[in-house]
Symmetry: C2
Subunit: 454 residues, 2 copies
């Protein structure tokens, strides 16, 4: 057998125990909040039929789908020399399946397929990896986790407020101070309407979304380029100068700007309802109306959310919104829902940057017994068993290696306590407990040691 | 957009909340035992380079690998009309990556690649899905989970005993009575040696492995077919008649059979050491020596394990063994390890068949507030917040729908308590708690309700 120098595909990662313990802290924390809010887990297969995935993420998305070669003789019936055969066309002939690109489309498919087994409103969460054949770069991977929560089958705006509450609680548990931006697609539609460009809402959103980055002049230039008239752009001025001390002032301004648009006023009304719910819930979330917030995804129809960490230089760490017809692509109408997604990788980087990972998650093993071999080993095993029966994660060095080697092992794994069980201890039915932090040693019966470690 | 009737690839599954809660119970239980035994988690990417995977699972395995089509123009530089172009050859030209087939090869790759970051002996666990393009059938899926634990970088047989202990604890927690069969590859080599067929140990194992199913005559026929002489087969008679009241008797018999084989006697010695350790540990595991146990995988060099449920008609639900040179394929020698794998899907089926899933895992939501709208809703939200702050998973129906509809929702989700908060309750600062099992209702202040639900 040839020896292969080991490597992994670019854009993918191995996770060592230290990384895993941090990642599990993130997933466990998010999951615990979801549970408290009565959200239930689902999972979907890593592979979906390409017919489910294609055309749902735009042309760019189709290109970034990982496609899986058909099993068996995938060449059967395929004419590779067919005229006009492009790589894309060929791909669809030799690949029927692709890897999940996000959790939203599979969720929509799931809801339609299992509609008769589910109880609506359905509050589901899903934490699974997704795959994108994107160019790998710092913080962008080809395999990464999404943590999505959605409430589908209810138009109640209480659900939007609950997502704010969940988000507040998640980041509160992490100790990450956040700003949560909120907008409503209907407000964006309203703006398009009042400037006389109701059919150009997507172009308007795409350009306005860049206001922070490229400034007003460049946004106006882009709008012109996208075929929006100068007259309409002039009417946008109140939007560019939009602002206010607080959300109350912003709402008042919005009512002025959007007075002529029914859908716009509906958006304002929804926004007000959500803000009122959040107040009723006693939340102190820094919730900021931002009418330039658009989020790329076309399926949003109501509220839109985006979360940023206040103290870290990082893009959005969470985002979501209301969609009225996500399941429509699979043939199920009138199934409005609202959801939000937490990016595990970015949360990891923020926790790391702000030094917010709790120390204790990195010392999962509480004690190690030194192995002196033979009878001593037997005595150590008896002690170990009692520790484990008491629920204390602990181990014994598996060989009676030199004590220096065993101590190095304990050190390298940051195990806080070493337990020695030699002849002396054995004869007095005790164990010597050494605190690796202070160097302090005590000779104690096992039940005292259990008490101390618990 | 065309409407696609939703479906998923054959051999894959969606998991509804009920299934997920059961599956999570399995994973959480196994994980808790791993933790207690100081095993640490790792994860590897779903995709590996095909060069890492190919040739590691035999010809059959290569065929069952899911291959991922290269991104971008995968046809570039590929001559589809090349003479002798077979589907297999073409696949390797247009696919560089494949989906993980098991957790063992990726683990070996991981250990070699990260050898300088790891502390040895390295006790790792890994619980991730694997993919095989197998023909789907009852209980066999194309995407399924493996839960592997390995101790690598130590030849100590204490590790074998620890795996027995872990297995005992895992199935003890599940309430599944098990028989754990144990053998040693060196015993099988010894048998091959004493019958004069040292180089035919694989053929011998493959045939002997079927003894239970096809009987002695058919095994002998197969051995002949595999080129083992009648003379050698005659010498196998003591092996066919192998048995004994208990492991002590079996060990004595083995010593007789294998007296002429150094490696065979080494195998017996290892077996005795492991059994002694298990006794020292105070375990009562039903551990049964079975010298026909071979397990297909060629990389085993020492102990071999297999676990069956006593009360369920199901193949092995767990298995593993010692390997001396798994990392050798990636260029790292002298890295002996021992591991065992738990099959989540089969454990699920056994728990289901024996009705062993605990009831409480299916009622994750403890209470639901009925939504009477407006002021009542506000009052209900206040109570809900207190319940959640106390850590009680609970929810409110998001709309002020008809009470019958809300009660049906509570019933369908098997929520044990319904809380009503109307004008009457609001005025007396109480809530009405209804036990859905007994129908009993009590009007109580929120702190009393929290006490009852905790």
């Amino acid at each position: 057998m040839n020896i292969v120098k080991p490597s992994i595909p670019k854009g993918t990662r191995d996770f060592t125990p230290t990384e895993m313990m941090r990642r599990n802290y993130i997933f466990d924390t998010i999951r615990s909040v979801f549970h408290k809010h009565a959200c239930l887990p689902i999972e979907t297969p890593s592979m979906e039929n390409l017919s489910t995935l294609m055309g749902k993420y735009g042309e760019e998305g189709d290109r970034l789908l990982f496609k899986i070669l058909n099993s068996g003789d995938f060449t059967q019936g395929v004419d590779f020399n067919e005229s006009d055969m492009t790589p894309n066309r060929l791909a669809t002939k030799i690949c029927e399946k692709g890897l999940r690109y996000d959790l939203t489309v599979p969720f929509a498919r799931f809801v339609v397929q299992h509609q008769n087994e589910l109880t609506f409103p359905f509050k589901r969460y899903q934490m699974q990896p997704v795959w994108r054949a994107d160019r790998p770069q710092k913080g962008r991977y080809r395999e990464f986790y999404q943590c999505d929560v959605d409430i589908i089958g209810s138009t109640s705006l209480l659900n939007e407020a609950e997502l704010v509450e969940i988000t507040d609680e998640v980041f509160g548990k992490f100790g990450i101070a956040i700003t949560m931006k909120i907008n409503n697609r209907k407000i964006l539609s309203g703006i398009a309407e009042v400037i006389g460009q109701a059919d150009k809402v997507t172009d308007l959103c795409t350009a306005m979304d860049k206001l922070d980055k490229i400034g007003q002049d460049n946004v106006c230039a882009e709008l012109l380029e996208r075929g929006i008239s100068q007259e309409s752009i002039d009417k946008l001025m109140p939007v560019f100068s939009f602002g206010g001390q607080d959300n109350v002032e912003k709402i008042e301004q919005l009512k002025g700007i959007l007075a002529g648009s029914e859908i716009g006023m509906k958006g304002v009304e929804e926004l007000v309802t959500v803000l009122d719910y959040v107040k009723d819930m006693g939340l102190t979330t820094d919730l900021e109306i931002d009418i330039t917030l658009a989020r790329g995804l076309n399926y949003y129809t109501g509220a839109i959310f985006e979360v940023k960490a206040k103290d870290a230089a990082m893009g959005s760490i969470s985002g979501g919104g209301r969609y009225d017809n996500l399941t429509g692509i699979f043939g199920l109408k009138n199934m409005s829902g609202v959801g939000i997604s937490y990016g595990a990788e970015r949360i990891y980087d923020v926790l790391n940057e702000l030094n917010l990972f709790p120390d204790e998650i990195l010392t999962p093993i509480k004690a190690i017994f030194i192995n002196f071999g033979k009878e001593d080993e037997k005595y150590a095993l008896a002690g170990l068993r009692q520790l484990r029966n008491a629920g204390i994660p602990s181990e014994i060095y598996p060989d009676s290696a030199k004590i220096g080697k065993q101590m190095s092992y304990a050190n390298a794994k940051a195990i806080p306590f070493v337990i020695m069980a030699g002849e002396n201890e054995r004869n007095s039915n005790t164990y010597t407990l050494k605190n690796m932090g202070t160097g302090e040693q005590q000779q104690l019966p096992i039940d005292k040691i259990i008490e101390m470690l618990q």
